[in-house]
């Protein structure tokens, strides 16, 4: 026995070290990556072998789809040439001018990847064992060798390219010119109106042929070895012709008729458009459509040609610059010229969890949001201020699926969060939980007083930089009007909602019947069933004076009925009612009179397991839902039809118990977790997820 135990430990240790060392590409990820996503192929293939995946329903679907799209014969996932038992990465690298979305994948068999590209008719070059593929305008660059594959999709930062000094340096047209040509939607515009993917459709066959597909942006592509660009004009007629063909093809693919109305409305503009389109098209597609990789930008190309809209010139220039940067970035990556590895960032290495199947790590939420959000529009209001590093992990385990997430705040915000989350759930709540009855619960604990005191401070931090005076006054007024302490006593900040199911009550209503004789109408009483959730809500309170007053007022106005030990608020025009009472510093609200009676009489049948106790009392937020317990409790009337009832019940019973909880703050880090148990009979979470997707398709 002991022997087996020891060898099992040794074995698993060996396996885990192997998994760590085997072709770990994370060291290649640059230290300044803003976000990194990891998918652990090793863990996944342990849960489900590649051959199992190929045979599975989603696996088959994926392979089928690929085979259809690329007219290639893929027997299985392994045919793509990747090392499926190693780690796959996505990372984002951003600077002031460009944001790179990079996919880094471990390669097992480069020849298979070569084949994948060749079969799709995509040409690539080979230099020093590194293959390079560029799409038509180099907005997609893929490099690979025997070890790894890097695919890069760059996105230009508009704010950078809009800066006047940058525009001047890069030879872009002045901002006003573009603004003018784009803002004038009407005829006076000197330049034809064209935004992103515009395919101009002007009447007449001839014109249609030169409609453009800016989508595959018009570019003069340069062979990789030639450093000097040849203006499009000087190229052979043959290649021009080919370019035109491409244009026609592109038009067919993506016709965009957005500007058509403007054109129709104004023949002059249409004519202008026609002319410049013709020029543009010839220029644009004066390349052989069979791709040659780009090295240099088209910034040197025919940008200064007359008759081309500055908008397109700029686009072309920008794409060229972007392509140049991206190509350099990828080359450096393979040449190992990267400065520092992400592994030198302790925050990243701390977030690495070898048990997690997938992980997303964000170096700083604030930085990432400022990299993506158009902050110019917010006028300096920093919504994400104070949010630091964050991560989310997915665990596919034998008995559960778990997703955890954590976010670290800066000291200011962290202290606010700590204060607000200091409160624990009222232990008395547990006395009114009966596990056999309940279907789910939701509980939260926070400090109302701290929240009300800290909230204004937080607001002033977000808006303070811009509206300092106004915010200052508003927050003072807030504190003046509210007595945080008094409110904190009325509603302390913790509460629990227990969901016990659904109950039905009969409701009568008036309708009309018609006699067959002469369709005379007759008033008749009919009945129908109304469904109401069965629940118990509990809220902690210290100072009940205000609530007592409210109740007294309600009783006086006959909205509330006093049943001696508890109160009743009837739902108008129905036999249903809500019941409430205040007892031992807890406000109880329930839809069930019997339950209320039990609470008042101290006869409530408590049943709560250690698991739930721990979840409820140990965390600031806890929720639980058991879909299985709901099976058969939803009235058919609510779903409409037996077939739907059956389907709903089937779905509900295939789901395991769901738990959500947040953990107490550790330092400035707030973390939470959602998990679902896997129903018995399933081997592991991954196989279970696959079986669900298959069921849902049926």
């Amino acid at each position: 026995m002991n022997y087996y135990f020891k060898s099992a430990i040794a074995g698993s240790f060996l396996l885990s070290t192997l998994a760590v060392n085997a072709q770990d590409l994370s060291r290649k990820i640059p230290a300044d990556a803003l976000a990194v996503a990891t998918v652990k192929g090793g863990n996944l293939t342990q849960l489900m072998s590649v051959s199992e995946f190929n045979q599975s329903f989603p696996g088959k679907k994926i392979l089928e789809a690929l085979a259809k799209d690329y007219k290639a014969d893929f027997q299985g996932m392994e045919d793509f040439g990747f090392n499926l038992s190693s780690d796959f990465y996505y990372y984002n690298q951003t600077n002031d001018s460009v944001s790179y979305n990079c996919f880094l994948m471990p390669v097992k068999d480069a020849a298979k990847i070569d084949l994948f590209f060749t079969k799709r008719g995509k040409q690539f070059t080979l230099k020093d064992q590194v293959r390079s593929y560029f799409n038509i305008d180099s907005t997609e660059i893929v490099h690979w060798n025997g070890e790894m594959l890097l695919a890069v999709l760059p996105t230009a930062k508009a704010a950078y390219f809009n800066r006047p000094e940058v525009r001047e340096r890069l030879g872009l047209s002045k901002q006003e010119e573009i603004g003018l040509s784009l803002s004038k939607e009407s005829a006076e515009s000197d330049y034809p109106l064209m935004t992103d993917s515009v395919a101009v459709q002007v009447a007449g066959e001839g014109n249609q042929k030169i409609s453009m597909g800016i989508e595959d942006d018009a570019t003069v592509q340069e062979p990789v070895k030639k450093k000097k660009s040849v203006p499009a004009k000087n190229r052979s007629k043959k290649s021009k012709l080919k370019g035109k063909k491409t244009a026609v093809k592109n038009y067919k693919k993506k016709p965009v008729k957005r500007r058509l109305e403007t054109l129709k409305a104004d023949p002059v503009a249409a004519e202008e458009m026609e002319v410049s389109t013709a020029v543009e098209a010839t220029e644009a597609f004066a390349t052989d459509s069979s791709m040659v990789p780009v090295d240099t930008a088209y910034s040197e190309s025919s940008a200064s040609d007359e008759g081309i809209s500055p908008f397109f010139q700029d686009r072309r220039l920008k794409t060229g610059i972007l392509a140049k940067w991206t190509a350099k970035m990828s080359d450096d990556f393979f040449a190992g010229k990267n400065q520092g590895s992400i592994l030198s960032n302790p925050d990243f290495t701390k977030s690495v969890d070898h048990k997690a199947e997938a992980t997303i790590w964000i170096s700083g939420v604030e930085q990432l949001s400022s990299a993506y959000l158009p902050l110019d529009y917010f006028k300096g209001v920093n919504f994400m201020g104070g949010y630091g590093t964050a991560n989310a992990k997915l665990f596919l385990e034998e008995q559960s699926i778990k997703m955890s997430s954590a976010i670290t705040f800066n000291e200011d915000m962290g202290s606010v969060m700590r204060k607000v989350h200091k409160r624990k759930l009222n232990k008395k709540f547990l006395k009114y939980v009966n596990e056999d009855q309940m279907i789910g619960y939701m509980a939260y604990a926070m400090d109302t007083k701290a929240y009300l005191q800290e909230y204004p401070k937080l607001v002033s931090k977000i808006y303070g930089s811009v509206y300092a005076d106004e915010i200052g006054m508003a927050t003072d007024l807030f504190s003046l009007l509210l007595d945080e302490e008094a409110i904190g006593k009325v509603i302390k900040g913790d509460g629990m909602f227990v969901f016990n199911g659904l109950s039905q009550k009969e409701v009568s209503y008036k309708s009309y019947d018609y006699n067959e004789e002469n369709f005379e109408t007759k008033e008749v009483m009919k009945t129908k069933k109304e469904t109401l959730p069965d629940f118990l809500m509990m809220i902690s309170t210290e100072d009940t004076r205000l609530i007592d007053k409210l109740i007294a007022y309600g009783v006086k106005k006959e909205l509330v009925k006093n049943n001696n030990s508890y109160y009743e608020i009837s739902i108008p025009k129905s036999p249903m009612a809500f019941y409430f009472t205040i007892k031992d510093g807890v406000i109880f609200l329930s839809s069930n009179a019997q339950e209320m009676q039990q609470i008042v009489n101290n006869t409530f049948n408590t049943k709560v397991s250690a698991k739930h106790k721990k979840a409820l009392l140990g965390n600031n937020y806890a929720a639980y839902f058991s879909p299985k317990k709901l099976v058969g409790k939803i009235p058919a009337e609510e779903l409409g039809g037996l077939a739907k009832v059956e389907k709903t019940n089937k779905t509900l019973s295939s789901l395991g118990d769901i738990y959500i909880r947040s953990f107490p703050m550790t330092g400035n880090t707030f973390s939470a977790e959602i998990s679902m148990d896997i129903p018995a009979g399933q081997k592991n979470a991954l196989k279970y997820l696959f079986s669900i997707t298959e069921d849902l398709q049926k």
Binding site: V416, M417, V420, Y444, M446, Y451, Y455, L458, G495, V507, Y509, K510, S511, Y512, Y514, E516, E517, N518, F519, T521, K526, K528, E530, T531, L532, P533, I571, P572, K573, S574, M576, N620, Y621, E637, S662
Partner: protein, 230 residues
Amino acid sequence: MLAGDMLKRNARYFLLILVLCVFSSCFQIIEEINVANNGSGTVNLTVNLSASKTKVASLMLLDSVNGYKVPGKQKIQQEMEEVVSYLKNSPGISNVKKTLDFENYIATVSFAFKNISNINNVSQNVLKKMKIKAINNSSFSFNPENGVFQRRYIHTKEALVEYNKLKPEVKNVFKEASYTSIYRFEKTVATSSNPSAKVSKTKKAVMLNAGIMGLINGKTNISNQITLVK
């Protein structure tokens, strides 16, 4: 922080969610027209929300729901009064009566007309007064000479456009709503052109039952030409 905001919002919407999702809703519109041989007659319009009275009552406790202002009892009464006084002043219309049952949420309006053409303008204007964008693009005519009663109805796309603007919760209200029209005559009915319409045993009444949805999306046609025996 987020949790706090969420809870506050939850508390506010707690009642709303209960009201909107839990209680079922449907309503009934009944239009009865009795036509005498000389072309005069009476109209009786009923709007019955009794089947969704729990929901209506709960909604009326709230000030507004999803941006829609919920009219109070007084406002409803006042608007009904306006409709009645408008009818009283309309040419050819007399004996205007209304009932409002706030226990069951049933409203009725009845009146007499000299000639059925009197009601053509009236119905349009009443609907306009009640701020209902006309889904009712119809006109009535009766020729005592040849005994032909006609209801012309043209579906307008506007109804569907307006309907599509509604939020899903509100759309649901219309899904089970029904419309019934009953025409009664002194003479017996020889033919009724609308295949969905039923003729009573006495052959002196014609009834058509339709879902409101069918009227909104134009799938149901309530036009009818009824010829009376001479």
